[in-house]
């Protein structure tokens, strides 16, 4: 009946697709807001080139840790299908990096040029 191990696992422990989509949307919301905030901070601090992107990555890791322990209650597997989803969603893809660069350059320009 179930050919692969993954299908067998899915048949034994079915998931709710609406909740998966809902959780992913929640992460995306948190990411998009916090990325703009990181851009503001990077602009205020006057970071340039690589140090700004390092700041972005460190901040994203911080937000991931906060989400694991405060939003997911230390059990990401309860809310997400793969454990890496919480850490990688919207970090390098999507609009988060773009909004970070937007607010970064905006505040850098406002405060220094």
């Amino acid at each position: 009946m179930a050919s692969s191990a993954e299908e067998r696992e899915l048949l034994l422990h079915p998931v709710v697709p609406e909740n998966v989509a809902h959780n992913t949307k929640t992460i995306t919301d948190i990411r998009s807001v916090t990325c703009s905030v990181f851009g503001v901070a990077a602009g205020i601090l006057g970071l340039e080139s690589y140090s700004g992107f390092v700041f972005y990555l460190v901040g994203s890791c911080l937000v991931s840790v906060l989400m694991v322990f405060m939003a997911a209650g230390g059990q990401p597997s309860r809310y997400f299908r793969s454990s890496s989803e919480l850490w990688t969603t919207e970090v390098l893809s999507g609009s988060s990096l773009a909004s970070f660069i937007l607010t970064w350059t905006l505040f850098f320009g406002l405060l220094r040029v």
């Binding site: 422990h13 079915p14 998931v15 709710v16 909740n19 998966v20 809902h22 959780n23 929640t26 919301d29 948190i30 807001v33 916090t34 905030v37 990181f38 503001v40 901070a41 205020i44 601090l45 006057g46 901040g59 911080l62 937000v63 906060l66 989400m67 405060m70 939003a71 997911a72 309860r78 809310y79 997400f80 299908r81 505040f107 406002l110 405060l111 220094r112």
Partner: protein, 114 residues
């Protein structure tokens, strides 16, 4: 309810801190020569306000996550609402008395014709 007020307070306080550090950095850029680095207190204020703002934002969304496993999810729904996602299946009718229904209908037709 308590969490939402706490996170709202955290978000407003840290936003004020961020605005204040932004204004401080602007004033500093007006006074000093452009190559001068930012004072330590402004840097610290920015970092602390960003950290608090992140905590507030995550806390604000922390009630939103829903468990993805069917068993956990339906158990939670049954505890909170009294019926799970398949609750409508438990409120269906039993067997219909189809002979009784036909008899009622024929009586109604006969009395209507008279």
């Amino acid at each position: 309810m308590f969490t939402s007020t706490k996170s709202a307070a955290l978000i407003s306080v840290s936003t004020l801190l961020l605005i204040h550090s932004c204004y401080s950095a602007y004033e500093h850029s007006l006074i000093s020569v452009p190559t001068n680095t930012l004072p330590l207190d402004v840097t610290l204020e920015t970092l602390v306000s960003v950290f608090l703002l992140c905590v507030g934002i995550v806390l604000n969304n922390s009630q939103e996550l829903k468990p993805i496993s069917w068993s956990v999810w339906s158990g939670q729904l049954e505890r909170e609402r009294g019926s799970g996602p398949y609750g409508f299946l438990e409120e269906r009718l039993g067997f219909l008395d189809i002979r009784g229904k036909r008899a009622e209908f024929s009586d109604w037709v006969k009395t209507g014709n008279e």
